[in-house]
Amino acid sequence: MERYQPIVINEEVRLHCIKTDKFKTNLVSVYFQRPLLREEVTHNALLSMLLPRGTRQYPTAQNISMELENLYGASLGSDVAKKGERNILQFRLQVANEAYLDDKNIFSKGLNMLDQLISDPYLEDDQFSSSYLKQEKENLTEKIEGRINDKIKYAYERCIEEMCKNENFALYEYGKKEDLPKITGEQLYHHYGKLIESSPIDIFVIGDMEQGYIEEKVRKTFQFKRQNLVSGIREQVHHKPSKVLRIEESMEINQGKLNMGFRTNVPYESELYEPLVVFSNILGGGPNSKLFKNIREKESLCYYIFSRIEKFKSLMLIGSGIEFEHYEKTVDLIQKEIYEMKKGFFSEEDIDSAKKGIITSIRSLTDTPGMLADFYYTQTLSKNFDSLEDIIKKIEKVKKDEIVQAAQEISLDTIYFLKGKKEVAEK
């Protein structure tokens, strides 16, 4: 596998090529970087749903689907994501590698469709189709309302929302339902034009093709106009909560969902960032972790429990599913584990296992094209140009005293508990 230096295609348009013949597909991911702001987050989400509805050449989603089926089940789509306080609009194409087929034009055809989806939408009187817009507004409303369906994810996101309620990071990547009715077709089309020309763009191509060939194809296919470019941002990450916020919500559910949000106060630029990652992994990274061993295996309080770092925002989140009446007990036990780790009560063996686990996941990324693109894009956003091996070396070098040092800055900010309805009635 060869990763080339990014090529500058135009102002703030970069092409990243990774050449490998181990996959049976070729992948193209195009990322538009936006600031995460209330004013546009709902617009961006709506665009990610509206653009796949039709292009000038393929005016309906049915036309697009048929063409993709003809291209041997190529996948083409758009989505939004939140990376720290950046809002990413992403387009992705995956097509079969022609080496395995009789057809030899699959990649070019796919790339053209990707370009059309981004740059040549289906229009009526120089505006987005009003019926498409109306339908996608309804779909987006359903999607936002549908957050409650996945209780584990919902509780996790609600915890962040409460913890960061005065920061843009609290915004849900699919936006706000109440902002939808105000969005007019004209306004959205205007925003779309602005987004295409002013966003930093990163294009990742992973597959069995020479860089020169890809560059030529990309330059010929995509013509991004550039104007009033938005600049990158860096999140505010230092935060010492004055007191712990406790939020309880009820829903008619069978199992309580507990989430605890911490401020780590360790930015990713810091030398303590890797030690922090190791800390979180020892605490709740997997079946060998402190939380899994004690809260699950020893106490039988839960089936799942994890700890995770939100890189860009320097947060640590713990999540678990428990019986309603075990709320206080579980919170106490989790805090006890953190307290002991802060005191340095963990072994060299714990550190070694955690490091190996992290390194295995980093290495494993290289076997999945989509994850590989996403990983390098996250790196690009954090202006880190380390190779995978450089990153692995940094993890390997982490020492116990650094982990303990990184841990000292971690403070509990918010405890969020999603509990059952009956309990409320009793109280």
């Binding site: 049915q62 689907s65 993709l68 041997y72 087929l101 359903e142 559910i253 060998n288 686990g357 295995t360």
Partner: protein, 429 residues
């Protein structure tokens, strides 16, 4: 020791097979350039196998529901403690899953593969059940069951199975119930372990950029079964299942924002495995795409009328003893969606299916199958699932190419019958 080969020139992939004298089969698929190494140790023993007999004169046993899954949890415990630690020290991820027909133990690593492999082979062969550790596990599994009770997709699916099947244990939750798992004893676990964790009933599949000979010898060296173990056949008992459905409609209320639904068709053409089953599976998948897929007329209409959203998808499950097509989605009016689906099928029956659609779907499945070979996890888990149904995974491409429009038309008439369809709905509370 003979090593055989399975080869696919189309996919440019091959699988090496070695059979030990006790009948145990090992499979290795080289994946050049891959960082990840993956091994899966699987037994043909799932949630539906709770009534069985060993040998012609053996006693018939009936064990509590959820025992295969319980056993999966408990195998991770060794006399000297949890096996998780030992994999973690090697930096690998160990896991397991139980479904209707199999239990699989697996790990993925990027380093020290052979040590990991040794651990896997040994721990699966070393049960250690005590009164105390069985009791402790009940609390954990109870939380797992509760977690699924809050999962609307899981509920809508199992309710659909309950509406489809009168007797067949596929309608019972894989983890069992809180009541059934509390009846499980350490003796039950040993009984099931000794019955189903045998060389003839298990396989091991390895995939990665590895040394073939070392893969085979590592496994051979760590196999504890004695070569002279003569295994008598396992007889599995499944109740007689009528071809009819139980009820046309089933519903429940949960905390969801919009109703969820599954529409299912019960398969009556069952009772076989092998290439014939693969063929039926692929024909049915193509049909599901032609009738309900993204490029279908029905999808277009329902989507534009706001009756369905992006989550509308069909899949087919075909085992020897049962089969069903299941189409799931979200809608503010699931009854209307169901009604329109049935009308659409009726209309297609009259005007006939479209041959161009069929040709397009064949291309789609060829490309998607190719893509699936990107993932070592997919290859390993699919290999196992196919193997237990006597299907050779490399037959996929040839079989799909050999399917004719006549096959499609025949299956359409036989399988997509409104009288054998059900609607399962989860309403909002």
């Amino acid at each position: 020791m003979i090593t055989k080969n399975l080869k696919s020139t189309l996919l440019k992939e091959e699988i090496k097979i070695r059979e030990l004298s006790n009948g145990f089969k090992i499979y290795y698929m080289p994946k050049e350039g891959y960082t990840k190494q993956y091994a899966i140790f699987a037994t043909r023993y799932g949630s539906i196998d709770s009534k069985f007999r060993v040998g012609s004169d053996g006693e018939v046993f009936e064990v509590p529901d959820g025992i295969a899954h319980f056993l999966e949890h408990k195998l991770f415990e060794e006399e000297e403690g949890s096996i998780f630690d030992r994999f973690s020290h090697l930096g690998s991820n160990v896991n397991a899953y139980t479904n209707f027909t199999s239990t699989c133990y697996l790990f993925s690593s990027t380093d020290r593969f052979y040590e990991n492999l040794e651990l896997l082979v040994r721990f699966v062969q070393s049960p250690h059940f005590t009164e105390e550790n069985v009791k402790k596990e009940k609390g954990i599994i109870e939380q797992e069951i509760r977690m699924y009770e809050d999962n609307p997709n899981w509920k809508v699916f199992f309710n659909a199975l309950k509406a489809l099947y009168h007797q067949h244990p596929v309608k019972i939750d894989i983890a069992g119930t809180v009541e059934s798992i509390n009846r499980i004893t350490k003796e039950d676990l040993y009984k099931c372990y000794n019955t189903f964790y045998t060389p003839q009933n298990m396989i091991l599949f390895v995939v990665g950029d590895l040394d073939e000979e070392k893969v085979f010898t590592t496994i051979e060296k760590n196999i504890l079964w004695k070569s002279e173990v003569g295994q008598t056949d396992i007889v599995r008992y499944y109740p007689e299942e009528p071809g009819t459905i139980v009820q046309n409609r089933i519903e429940e209320r949960l905390s969801v924002s919009i109703p969820l639904f599954n529409v299912a068709f019960k398969d009556t053409d069952i009772g076989y495995g092998g290439e014939q089953l693969l063929r039926k599976e692929l024909i049915t998948k193509i049909l599901l795409e032609m009738i309900f897929g993204r490029s279908s007329e029905l999808f277009k209409e329902l989507y534009e009328e706001g009756l369905i959203n992006d989550n509308f998808e069909g899949e087919y499950t075909g085992e020897r003893g049962y089969g069903h097509s299941m189409i799931g989605g979200e809608s503010k009016d699931p009854d209307q969606v169901y009604h329109r689906m049935m009308k659409h099928i009726e209309a297609l029956g009259e005007k006939g299916l479209n041959k161009t659609d069929f040709e397009r779907m064949k291309r789609k499945y060829i490309g998607e199958h190719l893509r699936s070979y990107n993932s070592v996890e997919f290859i390993a888990t699919t290999f196992v699932a196919y193997h237990f149904r006597d299907i050779n995974i490399f037959d996929y491409m040839d079989t799909i190419k050999s399917i004719t429009f006549e096959d499609i038309q025949r299956r359409f008439k036989e399988h997509f019958q409104p009288a054998r369809s059900i609607l399962s709905v989860i309403h909002s509370k």
